[in-house]
Every structure is written in structure tokens, then in C-alpha cells.
């Protein structure tokens, strides 16, 4: 750490006004404040600050995402060997998944941060740190077979149109990672849904199995199957118990399958106080209530899915823990958070049940409620103002 600090201090002068590399000052600034807490403090007046700044908060979210990421890598390898009917060691399985997922992380960060750096240089501002989390979220919410150039196009679209045009980090109305996914979903549907995108079937760099696929192979996600049958199966056609769904060894987007890995992330987020427990709790409450309601109606196969399967399958948990709680796009008022979360859970299940073509209701639900977050805040703030005004009038 000390050597790093010394190095930074040594190269700092060339980035300052008049230095050789002055044009890249924002890049330098970005790295310096990413590595070390900045020394600049408020000069006058009293300010109550948390010791944690937004870069530290973002780093915590990235740490919270790591269990889901590691499990996702392992699961990619596991599914690969499973559908080829081959036993593989733990390391081979994990390493295969690592090779499949790593390019997506690299592409997402290079494209996203590249655009952020260019925009920051162009506007003469500091680099904003918001993409640290988005860049990690994006690879986790796409299918493993999503081509890299499509991922790059979608990331560029989301960063420019969902973030930079609104003014950068902290001003975006929509969750950037979800806009990436929505763009992919509508622009390249054949690469985002169906049966052939969720499992990586070919060997990567000589690693992996070249056996023929086993009998009974199905590449559809359990939620994709749910539109036709209540007998959900994993990739080789054996049935799934609720425990299997919690463990997460089934086809799906890279990071979304394991409830346990996401749960570890949720504990980290709640323990550090970065995510709001109110939103998380009410998303689950909304989802469970709606699922029970549709169970009572039971008009199609998805409506008959028990409430716990709705929660465990698909992106519900991932969305509730990492997407809905995004502090920028969620409401700020405490009561508003309950309504926001509940409506996300409600809409997610409604979309899943009523439109079999969109098994991923969670994405649409969160994006829709992002739009309403500011309105919810406005209503509660106005309500509070009114309440207090009334109190004043009575006391007079």
C-alpha cells in the first residue's frame, strides 16, 4: 500500500496544471480516489458526514456480488459438464466457467469505463464511479452464450442513453445494468431467451467436454418451462426440489441462479447499511402476496407455480437484492420504499403470470417502478408538508 502511495505521489505533479499529462488528470484522479480515501475535506462550517463515500459504497456492492459471481462461474462449468454427461473435477469445472465468464466482465468494464472516461475528459469533470457496480452487474444478468459484440453494443447504449445524457452517475432515472439487459432482450431476443443460450456447450481454449449431449437434454430455464408444465426440470431432465432451486444448479443468467450466493451478498449489503432492508423486504412481500393471489385464480400453468418457486427461480432474488435497492433509482422517502418495493414484487409476478413470453418480469417491473420512484417521493414529501402545515394552523 505504501509503495503504491509513494508511486502516486511521485507521478502526481505531471497530472497537475501545466504538467505533461494534464489532459489525463481525470483518469489519474479517478484511480487515486479509487485506491485511497481523498484527503480533501470541507473547509468551513459543520458537516456531518458518514466515513463512507460513494466509491467505498460501490466497492462494498462489488464485494457483495462476488459470491454470486463465483457461484455463477462454477455453475456455468457445472452445466457444461452435466449436459455432456461427463464427470469433472472441481477445479476444471470452475476454470471452464471462469474462462466463459471472464470475457464478459472484461468487455463490460472496458466499454462502460471507456465511455465514462471519454465523457469525463470531454466535459472536463472527474471520472464518476457509478460504473464500477453496473460493470459487474451486467455480466451477471446475461445468458452465458450472449455474444460479446452484442454485449458491447448494449453496454454502450445503456451508458450513453440511460446515464450520460441524464448527467452521469447519480442522475440516472433507470438502472443502467437493467437497461443493458432490456436492450438485449428487445433487440436480440434470439440471444436472450429460448433454449440454446443458457448453457455453454462448446469447449473453451481446449478445456471442456466434446462428448455428445446426453438424452433428455433441455436448455430451457425452469421459469421458461413453467409456461408449459408444472414439472420443472434441470438441464438433463431430472426433476427439481425446492432445495435444488435454492442451491441454484440449473440453467439461467450467470449470477441469478443461486439463492444462497445472493443471500450472502444481501447480508453484506444489509450489514454495511448500503441497501435498504425496507425495499428488499417489501419486494419479497409483494412477490409472495401476488403469487398467492394468482395461485387462488390458477388460470394457467405459471399462475399455479407455488409462491416459493416464484421467489427462488429466475431473477427475482437477484433483482430484489442488487437492482431494486440501487440507491440512485429507488425512492428516498422511507414510506416510499415500502410502496416501491411492494409494487416491484407485484408487477414482476403479474408479468410472469399474464405474459408467458416474458418470463423475466423482474427486469420490466424494476424499470417501470424506476420511473415512478420520483413521483412516490414527491407524494410523500407533499403529504408531510401538508401534515406539518396543519399542525401549525392548529397551534395558532
Amino acid at each position: 500500500m505504501k509503495a503504491l502511495r509513494n508511486f502516486l505521489d511521485k507521478v502526481k505533479p505531471s497530472f497537475e496544471e501545466g504538467g505533461k499529462l494534464h489532459a489525463f488528470r481525470s483518469v489519474f484522479d479517478g484511480f487515486e480516489t479509487f485506491l485511497f480515501v481523498p484527503n480533501t475535506v470541507a473547509k468551513r462550517g459543520s458537516h456531518i458526514h458518514d466515513c463512507i463515500d460513494s466509491k467505498r459504497a460501490m466497492s462494498m456492492v462489488v464485494i457483495a456480488l462476488i459470491p454470486a459471481l463465483l457461484f455463477g462461474m462454477y455453475n456455468v462449468g457445472f452445466q457444461h459438464y452435466l449436459v455432456h454427461g461427463e464427470e469433472a473435477s472441481f477445479l476444471a469445472t470452475f476454470f471452464y466457467g471462469f474462462l466463459a465468464v471472464l470475457p464478459k466482465i472484461v468487455v463490460s468494464y472496458v466499454v462502460g469505463l471507456g465511455i465514462e472516461f471519454v465523457a469525463a475528459q470531454w466535459k472536463g469533470e472527474e471520472i464518476q464511479e457509478g460504473f464500477l457496480v453496473s460493470g459487474m452487474l451486467i455480466p451477471l444478468i446475461v445468458p452465458v452464450e450472449c455474444p460479446l459484440w452484442i454485449l458491447a453494443v448494449a453496454t454502450a447504449f445503456a451508458v450513453i442513453f440511460a446515464k450520460e445524457v441524464f448527467g452521469g452517475t447519480g442522475y440516472n432515472i433507470f438502472n443502467v445494468a437493467l437497461i443493458t439487459r432490456a436492450f438485449l432482450f428487445f433487440a436480440y431476443p434470439s440471444k436472450m431467451s429460448g433454449e440454446s443460450v443458457w448453457i455453454s456447450q462448446d469447449p473453451i481454449c481446449g478445456l471442456g467436454s466434446t462428448n455428445a449431449l446426453v438424452d433428455g437434454f433441455t436448455g430451457a430455464t425452469p421459469l421458461g418451462q413453467a409456461t408449459a408444465t408444472t414439472q420443472l426440470t434441470d438441464a438433463i431432465g431430472s426433476g427439481m426440489s425446492p432445495m435444488d432451486m435454492i442451491l441454484g444448479f440449473y440453467p439461467g443468467s450467470i449470477g441469478e441462479t443461486s439463492v444462497i450466493a445472493i443471500g450472502i451478498g444481501a447480508i453484506i449489503l444489509l450489514w454495511t447499511g448500503i441497501a435498504s432492508w425496507k425495499i428488499m423486504f417489501s419486494v419479497f412481500a409483494g412477490g409472495i402476496c401476488t403469487a398467492l393471489l394468482f395461485n387462488a385464480i390458477g388460470a394457467n400453468e405459471v399462475m399455479n407455480l407455488p409462491w416459493y418457486e416464484h421467489i427462488f427461480l429466475g431473477g427475482f432474488c437477484f433483482g430484489a437484492v442488487f437492482m431494486a435497492t440501487d440507491p440512485v433509482t429507488a425512492p428516498r422517502t422511507e414510506c416510499g420504499k415500502y410502496i416501491y418495493g411492494f409494487m416491484i414484487g407485484f408487477i414482476a409476478i403479474v408479468v410472469r403470470c399474464l405474459n408467458p413470453g416474458y418470463p423475466e418480469g423482474m427486469m420490466l417491473a424494476i424499470l417501470l417502478m424506476n420511473v415512478f420512484a420520483a413521483l412516490i417521493d414527491y407524494c410523500f414529501v407533499q403529504h408531510n408538508i401538508k401534515k406539518r402545515l396543519n399542525r401549525v394552523a392548529i397551534n395558532k
Partner: protein, 211 residues
């Protein structure tokens, strides 16, 4: 009064870019979104509107001193409706496929805000030749935006232009895919926004003042 005086040139040229009906006045957006998923209907729609607005301007300008003020909107509508019907019938007779693609939007030219705007704001107070140039400019300005939007939507959404394959087959073999979102209406909105963005960046005078 010469035909191409400086003022007349200004009348004709300003709606093409600096006072563009779609990008600056934000009129006629609905049809700009609806008919631009392919370049061909966008072109035909742009031409139809140009012809109608130019000739409606001339007719109203000729009648401007005889139209009673209280019923002027009705008179304008009658003139526009007659022209729209003519264009619609011509399209059906000579370009049936395009007229099917455009469906109701040809008939809906009558409610296009650009028309009513030009008739009210310009033709009612100006001479026929000036009005003709103004209508032609406004129509072409509208057509320009439609063609830009249609160009990008067809090229990126279908890989064709005027139904000719533009993106080579070997790119598709390499894994390139058409962007399905381009064919859906939201992308038209985003492309229009990009045109506006580009225009405002080039002409800072057009930028709305922030408070």
C-alpha cells in the same frame, strides 16, 4: 418583388434545418415515429406531406382575403382534406404497396400539426408564392427528419435500404445480427432525440435556456 429574393430564400431554407418542424418546433412527431421503420414509406410520407402543405399554403393564401375569420379553421380543413384525398387516391392507384404500409397515416396527414401551423401562421398573412416556398421548405424539413430516421432504422433493423440488401451476407455469417429494437417504435424516438442532440450541439443558439 423578385422570385428568389433574400427573404424568399430565407423562407424556404430556414425550416430545412434551423427552424425544422420536427426537430425544433417538435410538430408532427407521431407520424415521424409511425412510418419510419423502413426508408420507402418514410420517403413517400415525406413527399406526400411536402406536396400537401405546399399546395394547401398556396390555396389558402389565394383565398386569405375572402375567408371569414370566424370559420377559417373549417375552410383550411376542407382544403387540406381535398388535397389529402387526392394524394391518398394517387398512392392507391400507383403505389399500392406503399399505401398499404402507410395505412391510416396518409389520411391522418389532415391532423398533422405542421399543416395547420403553416396555414395559420404563414399562409393567412402572406402572398401565394411566399406561402408556396414556406410550405415546400416545411414539408422538406419534415421529410428530411423522416428520411434520416428511416435510413438508420432500416439499415440497422433490417440490414436493407429501400429493400436492397446493404449489409453483406458474410457479416451475418460472422455472427452479426439485425437489431430488433430498431424496428420497434421506441428507437424512432431515440433517433429523433439524437438528431435534436446533434443539431443543438452544432447550433448553441437553439439550446433551451436552463433556469
Amino acid at each position: 418583388m423578385e422570385l428568389f429574393s433574400k427573404k424568399n430564400k430565407e423562407t424556404f431554407l430556414s425550416p430545412l434545418w434551423l427552424n425544422n418542424p420536427v426537430a425544433v418546433q417538435v410538430l408532427g412527431i407521431c407520424s415521424a415515429l409511425a412510418v419510419t421503420s423502413k426508408l420507402e414509406p418514410a420517403l413517400v410520407m415525406g413527399l406526400s406531406v411536402t406536396i400537401i402543405v405546399a399546395f394547401a399554403n398556396v390555396v389558402i393564401s389565394l383565398l386569405r382575403n375572402t375567408i371569414p375569420n370566424r370559420i377559417r379553421i373549417i375552410v383550411q380543413l376542407v382544403v387540406v382534406a381535398a388535397l389529402v384525398t387526392i394524394v391518398s387516391q394517387v398512392l392507391k392507384a400507383f403505389a399500392y404497396d406503399v399505401s398499404v404500409q402507410l395505412s391510416v397515416y396518409v389520411g391522418l396527414i389532415i391532423t398533422n400539426c405542421i399543416l395547420m401551423g403553416r396555414l395559420e401562421a404563414f399562409a393567412m398573412t402572406n402572398k401565394p408564392w411566399d406561402s408556396f416556398l414556406d410550405g415546400l421548405g416545411s414539408g422538406l424539413g419534415y421529410a428530411l427528419i423522416l428520411v434520416i430516421v428511416g435510413f438508420f432504422r432500416e439499415l440497422l433493423g433490417s440490414g436493407t435500404l429501400l429493400n436492397f440488401q446493404i449489409i453483406p451476407e458474410c457479416l451475418y455469417d460472422c455472427g452479426y445480427m439485425n437489431n430488433g429494437l430498431m424496428v420497434l417504435p421506441p428507437m424512432a424516438l431515440i433517433i429523433v432525440a439524437c438528431v435534436i442532440w446533434f443539431q443543438r450541439a452544432k447550433n448553441p443558439d437553439l439550446q433551451e435556456k436552463s433556469n
